[in-house]
């Protein structure tokens, strides 16, 4: 897939980080298997241009990092709330930013038809009823 806003490297980084955060596990498909990233432009298009530029740059850097570095980074992000050092705020922002992106593309109603498995929202049993009249 391609994106109007994010580079191919950035998309690759999202899938790599997504699979580290949400690997295939029991009935849960891996992040990249679901393909929710297909609709990422719908989310990114509302962000200010400067934010999109920053996101692209960050993801492009992450795309070229070896997996063990990404794992180390995820570990730092997971414990960021307890990090009292000068890098604490950076890890915390990274944590919320990246998890927000990944979870938004995973726990989503918008899944491409190429995905034949059970959607993560169905696996967790989330079925919202809207009575619209």
């Amino acid at each position: 897939m391609t994106s109007k806003y994010l580079s191919n490297s950035a998309l690759k980084a999202i899938n790599r980080i997504g699979d580290l955060m949400i690997p295939r596990n029991g009935e849960f498909p891996a992040f990249s298997e679901v393909g929710g990233i297909t609709y990422i432009d719908e989310l990114v298009s509302y962000a200010p241009g400067a934010d999109i530029k920053d996101l692209n740059m960050l993801l492009t850097i992450l795309a070229f990092m070896p997996t063990f570095v990404l794992r180390w980074l995820l570990g730092k992000m997971e414990t960021a709330m307890e990090n009292k050092g000068p890098l604490g705020p950076i890890f915390r922002q990274l944590d919320i930013g990246l998890r927000g992106l990944i979870f938004s593309c995973y726990y989503t109603e918008k899944v491409p038809t190429t995905f034949k498995g059970k959607k993560p929202l169905d696996i967790i049993g989330f079925q919202l009823t809207r009575v619209e009249d």
Binding site: N25, G100, I124
Partner: protein
């Protein structure tokens, strides 16, 4: 020339624009976001965050320990909140009076304005039949351990809950127009009748010249200016304060940006063996209403979170994360909302972006920890096998930054809602809150807006003060 420009369309701006429009004033209403209606509100959680909020869903304090949720659309916060409408009590107003020196802060003096707003909106006080299992377990456990609770009052008229509607959907805007947002309650019909509303117009500077105020804005990428005899800033704590800071008022008003508070909320989830389906039915029907907790400075709210938000609240990933999410329908949730100290400060950095310092004080921490401990006790008494306390603080009630007060050295807005030293710039939104009231702010924002509206239109009340209907009682 326009009589008034009102900037912002939330609980304050919506009310004031409606009242001035009905009074026949020549007004212009500006909004940075877009206009959505019940047909066009987003239908997914991810779209809601991206489309309706600044910062793509969340903004941070400078330490990134707290996330702020701030909306960007016609109707503002009132579109996405639960529209829980309670009056403030003596405790809140006495603290405001002490901090600000504004003598008219009292439940009695605000009663006529509260009543006017309450009479305009459809209100519903929840009953036992409205409670979902999340609420039933909460109240049962509170009764068992001696925590007083009460039913909430919400602005709504037809949620179709009896037909299976799940109100969690209205976190992205009510698709039934049942929720009494400032759009559904005030602006929708006015827009149809010709109210001059311009959306996607972000104000970045205000200048004054004698009897005229000029508003400078970006409208869909191009620079525009508007002039009026008066302006009303109603962009909330962040929006209003940012506009004033960018316009250079900090030199005259040193208190500008200070005294920010936000009722930080910390959610804890309880895991059960059986299905709870806490996201089903009414989203929020009960809360603690306990005088002891009020004195201690926190309250407990029986809430839940949609999947992406729930996933965000647990700081782990991988199989730990999946194990939690697998049990999503077997979770209950309670949050502690802290009545925090107003130690925060709103600034604008050299890139023109908001920068918010929100230190979590020792008192705030103590209140959070006490609340969490009580929640763990309640959840365990409910029968929870395990309790997950989220480390993340969320600020939904953004208050202060342009506080009201008699002394211009310590306040930004005078007791008649005027910017100190400026006869034609007014503010009556949550940015003027002197400190955190510890009660949901929406109704009081609307009551203050009503007071300013009446000041504009010359409406007065006789000495017969209407009966006080529903002060937050403990």
């Amino acid at each position: 020339m326009l009589d008034y420009i009102i900037i912002g369309t939330g609980p304050s701006g919506g009310n004031i624009a409606h009242n001035l429009f009905k009074a026949g004033a020549n007004i212009l209403l500006l909004e940075a976001g877009k206009l959505f209606n019940k047909k066009t509100f987003p239908r997914t959680e991810a779209d809601t965050s991206a489309m309706l909020y600044w910062g793509g869903g969340i903004e941070f304090d400078t330490d990134a320990k707290m996330g702020f949720l701030r909306t960007r659309l016609v109707g503002g916060t009132s579109i996405v909140n639960q529209c829980l409408l309670d009056r403030f009590d003596d405790i809140a107003f006495n603290d405001w009076k002490a901090e600000s020196g504004v003598q008219w802060f009292s439940p009695e003096n605000l009663a006529p304005y509260y009543t006017k707003v309450e009479n305009k909106l459809d209100l519903h006080t929840f009953t036992p039949s409205d409670m979902n299992k999340n609420a039933q377990l909460f109240t049962k456990s509170c009764d068992k351990i001696g925590v007083k609770w009460g039913y909430l009052r919400k602005g709504q008229n037809d949620c179709a809950n009896d037909r299976g509607n799940d109100c969690m959907a209205c976190l992205g805007g009510c698709h039934r127009d049942s929720k009494q947002s400032s759009y559904a309650g005030y602006l929708r019909d006015d827009i149809t009748e010709g109210l001059n509303l311009q959306t996607e117009t972000e104000v970045h500077q205000i200048t004054t010249n004698g009897d005229t105020v000029t508003v400078h804005a970006f409208q869909q990428g191009r620079q525009v200016t508007f002039q009026a005899k008066n302006i009303v800033l109603a962009g909330g704590a962040f929006g209003t304060t940012k506009m004033l800071l960018q316009s250079g008022f900090k030199k005259q008003l040193p208190a500008l940006g200070k005294n920010f508070s936000t009722h930080p909320q910390f959610m804890s989830f309880g895991l059960f063996d059986e299905e709870i389906n806490a996201y089903k039915g009414y989203f929020q029907t009960v809360a603690s209403k306990d005088p002891n907790l009020r004195k201690k400075g926190y309250k407990l709210e029986n809430v839940f979170a949609p999947p992406i938000s729930a996933a965000m609240l647990f700081s782990r990933t991988g199989s730990y994360h999946q194990d939690i999410m697998r049990n999503y329908t077997r979770m209950t949730c309670i949050e502690v909302a802290v009545r925090d100290e107003n130690a925060g400060e709103i600034k604008v950095n050299n890139k023109g972006r908001l920068s918010v310092d929100k230190p979590f004080t020792e008192q705030d921490r103590r209140r959070r920890d006490e609340g969490r401990e009580l929640i763990a006790n309640i959840l365990t008494n409910e029968g929870a096998k395990k309790v997950y306390a989220s480390p993340f603080a969320v600020g939904l009630h953004l208050m202060g930054g342009s506080v009201i007060g008699a002394n211009p050295a310590k306040a930004v807005v005078d007791p008649e809602f005027r910017l100190h030293g400026h006869k034609n710039i007014f503010v009556a939104d949550s940015s003027i809150f002197p400190n955190a009231p510890g009660i949901n702010p929406s109704l009081t924002v609307m009551a203050l807006a009503q007071k300013l509206s009446d000041q504009f239109t010359g409406t007065t009340y006789d000495k017969q003060i209407p009966k006080q209907l529903s002060t937050e009682s403990y």
